[in-house]
Structure formats: C-alpha cells, structure tokens
Amino acid sequence: MIYLDHNATTPLSGEVLEAMMPYFKQSFGNASSFYEPARTARAALEKARGTIAAAIGASPEEIVFTGSGTESDNLALRGVCRAFQGKDLHIITSPVEHHAVLKTCEDLQGTGVRITQVPVDNSGCVDPADVAGNITPDTVIITIMCANNETGVIQPIQAISEIARGKGIIFHTDAVQAFGKMPVHVDELGVDLMTISAHKIYGPKGVGALYIRKGTNISPIITGGSQERARRAGTENIPAIAGFAKAVEMAVEHLDEAGRHMTVLRDTFENQIMERIDNVTINGQGAPRIPNTSSMSFASIDGESILLHLDLLGVCASTGSACATGSPEPSHVLTAMGLSHVEAQGTIRFSLGKDTTLQDIDRLCEVMPGIVSRLRRISSI
C-alpha cells in the first residue's frame, strides 16, 4: 500500500505507542485523584504539557488539552464569544478554513455574531490588508488558519497577527496541518490562540490542544470538573496525551530533515506529473506551501473516479469533494480560489509523510497517466 493521505491522518508511530502503553493499565489513575497510580498519571500529564509548550514556545499553563483539533477550534471561537457575551460581536475569518472553524462561525452567526470572510486570491492566500480593512469596533476575534489542509498553502500569519495586536483583537490560528511540518512558534507567529492535533503528526486520534496566551479572555465551553485549570472539564485522556507529547518530541526533532525529504519528493512528483499528463493544474503552487501537500486538478474527469482507480492499485489519496447525497459539494477551498465546479471535482490531494519513499512517488507517476487517459476516454466533456 502507498499511503498519501497524511493530511487526513497518520499512522501511529511505534515510539508513540510505547509511550502510551503504561497509562492504559499500570498507571491508569485519574489525574485528579490522590493515590500513587493517579500521581504517576498526573506527572505524565504535566510532563506532556511541558513538552508541547516547549515545542511551540509557550508556557505549560498556556496549553489546554482537548479531544480533537475540532474541539480546540470550537473552544477558541465559542470560548471567546462567551467571554464577551452581551456585546455586539464580530469575527473575521476566511473562506478556506477547515469546517471546524467554518461551521462553528456559521453556528455563532445564528446566535447573532456577525461574520466576515475576507477573500483569498487564486493561490489561496488571504491579503492582510483585507483583514485590516474589515476590522470594526465589534471585532472580537480574527481566525485565519496557518496552513490549508487541501492545498498546503501557508497564510501570512505574522502580518495578520500584527494587525490584530495593533487593534487589541484576539487572534486565533488553526495550525493542525502546519504543526510538525513547519516551525510554529507562538511568539514568532504572534498568535493568542492556536489549535494543534496529535493524529496528524503520528500521534493518536482523539486528542488535541489549544494554546491560550496568558491573559486572553476566554470562557470554557465544556463545564464540569476543574481539569485543565477549569478551561476544559472532563477526565484527561492520559495515554493519548502522553502519546501526543511523544509525537511532538519526534516531530520537533525531525522537522528539518523530514521537511527537506518531503519537499524533494513533492517537487519530483509534481514535475513528473506535469511532464507526463496534459491539462493538470497544481493548486496554490505559486504560494508558500507546507512541504508535504500537493493539490492537483485533472481537467474533465471526476476525482472520486481517479481515487477508486488508485485505490484498486493500492494507493490512498483523497479528493476535496465527495459526490454524495444528491449533488456533489465541490471543495469550498478550491471554489474560493476561483476554480470552477468541474475543476474542483477533478482535484486530488496527495499528502506525503515522513516515511514516503521515492519508490512510492515513482510508482504513482507510473500509474497516473494511464488512469487519467482511461477516464478521459470515457468522459463526455
């Protein structure tokens, strides 16, 4: 099998699994309890917090563990809106955000919060001037993702955070795809809130974190116990958190090396495909991108049909859009970048991993031309 869907999820690394094992049975205690197994769990929790904080240049008490990147995005947006409840609220975001942000904004809109989506250009980038131009006295939070999950395009986070800081507005970034693939230091980026997740960096599913800069006004959205300094109630998932920390440790250690490796493979892949297949576009190619992601649009054929052919040959990739329930929803990211429905429908996302090999890429480049010409022969357009 050739797995090229690392932006969806990654396999758990062996070292991570090992780091998790003691906390399932041996040190199973509830980190809030008093006795020995609980103390071990508590120590693991705080050690993990320290590791993750150090990796992003934060203090341990600025890290809140959650159940997923999606939950972290929800906590950031709903938590800030809740803290400022009773006022007229306005959020600035972009049309290429992950659904965890988009749908949460949509939901908040239903409660009276005003939402502005600043546009993106053809390569998928937000213009910081558009963010500045849309700030109102009610703007309570600006949320712009760090790197896009479909195209890998990196947003000008520093420029936007400077604008936010200048106006005293809270700035959140969803760094789920960026974390582990590029340096994400909270002070360098200038963010107040930042979402990260474990399972995109060879850690376990079901655990994420939200970085909350000291002094940021935010309320909990899950109430109950006083875990996570009363910012996120619920017994901590210690095995997952311990695994998360191990995954972060390894990601930081191999950041440069893995980045170089994936950049070489990605560029080789894109050059080969462009050489061998006509009418292919690489989305966001002109913009800065994380090294592992390649979004390719193949003219006049359907992405899911490409995927099934790939699947039958043992290659896993993904489409931005899935044809389901009546009419296919073309990817909101690609349409925001100006692609037509047909172009968006013919788009495949290949996302490489640290263990992807040149042989994998060669094999993919070998089979793609045949798949594309086969489908184009059938195509009515």
């Binding site: 006049s300 054929i301 359907d302 899911e304 049909s305 099934l308 052919h309 039958l312 044809c323 389901a324 329930t325 009546g326 009419s327 296919p328 037509s340 429905h341 047909v342 429908q345 022969r377 059938i378 195509s379 009515s380 357009i381």
Partner: protein
C-alpha cells in the same frame, strides 16, 4: 476472485451471492465487485457518428457533478447498438455501463420499461448516497428513445411533404 469465471456470471442477475446479500445488514456502504468491474471496464463506451446513430441524448450537467451522452442505433424497433460517454463518479460510470448493457438488443418496447431499480438490482446494489447517480443512464436511454421517435416522425412528415 478469478476474473475469467467472473465474466460469465456478470451477465446473470443471479451472480450476486445470496449469502453476501443477506450478511449485508443495513445500508450498502461500498461499491461491490460487479460495480467496480463496470467502472474499470465499462461496456459500450464510445461515440457514434450522426450517420450511425438514430437516437441521441445529453443529460446531466457537469457543473452539478455528472453528465452523460448516449447514442443508440435502432433497426426494426430494436436497439442494435448503443454507446455512451460519462463524466462523473464511479457510481455514475458503472450505472451508465449497466444501463447500456441492459438496453442493448432489446426492442424499444422492452427498453422503455427499464428503470433505475433494474440497473441497481443488476449491479447487486450501490451505496445509498450514490443512488442519484444511477438516474443518468436510464434518463439518457429514455431521452434517446424519444429522440429516435421524434426523428422518425419528422422523417415521415418530410416524406409526406414530398409525396
């Protein structure tokens, strides 16, 4: 599964293993082998020249996700040849293929009786969210048959004028 023994079974509706069908409790989640076979090796793919075809249909809209072109050649009220081209998901391609396979060789009276359910049944089921894709093949077939009748009417009107 051995492909050569499989091919023969494909022409029979009974090729769907009854045990497999029974064990599929709840909705169909994935494409079955027969659907995949029709997707990878669709029947009757191609175009016909205006001289060859005497019925044509264009259905769907690429902007809505799928489009199909269908040509039929009718002789003595029977579909003697049929060709299609499709833009769409695997479900759309497989159901287009099956629809043409079912229609080929049938009289027009038999062909107009064909339904989406026939196509789905012959394929041994398709995932629920893909059922809308199966509409194209049959819709195109009915439209092409109508086109054939229209052309015939026009022809006889023309020859009436001439006489």
């Amino acid at each position: 599964m051995d492909k050569t023994t499989n091919n023969d079974e494909y022409s029979q509706p009974s090729s769907v293993d009854p045990v497999e069908t029974e064990s599929t409790v709840g909705p169909v989640l994935f494409y079955n082998e027969l659907v995949i076979e029709h997707f990878t090796n669709p029947c009757n793919v191609g175009e016909m020249s205006p001289k060859e075809a005497n019925g044509f249909a264009l259905v769907g809209d690429p902007a809505c996700g799928d489009e199909m072109k269908l040509w039929i050649k009718v002789e003595s009220d029977r579909i003697v040849d049929i060709r299609f081209k499709s833009f769409g998901c695997p479900g759309a391609i497989a159901t287009s293929s099956m629809a043409t396979k079912l229609a080929k060789g049938k009289t027009l009276h038999e062909a107009v009786e064909l339904t989406d359910d026939d196509v789905i049944r012959e394929l041994g089921g398709i995932p629920e969210e893909k059922k809308h894709c199966s509409l194209l093949g049959i819709t195109a077939l009915q439209k092409a048959i109508n086109d054939y009748y229209m052309r015939k009417m026009m022809e006889s009107a023309d020859s009436d004028d001439l006489s």
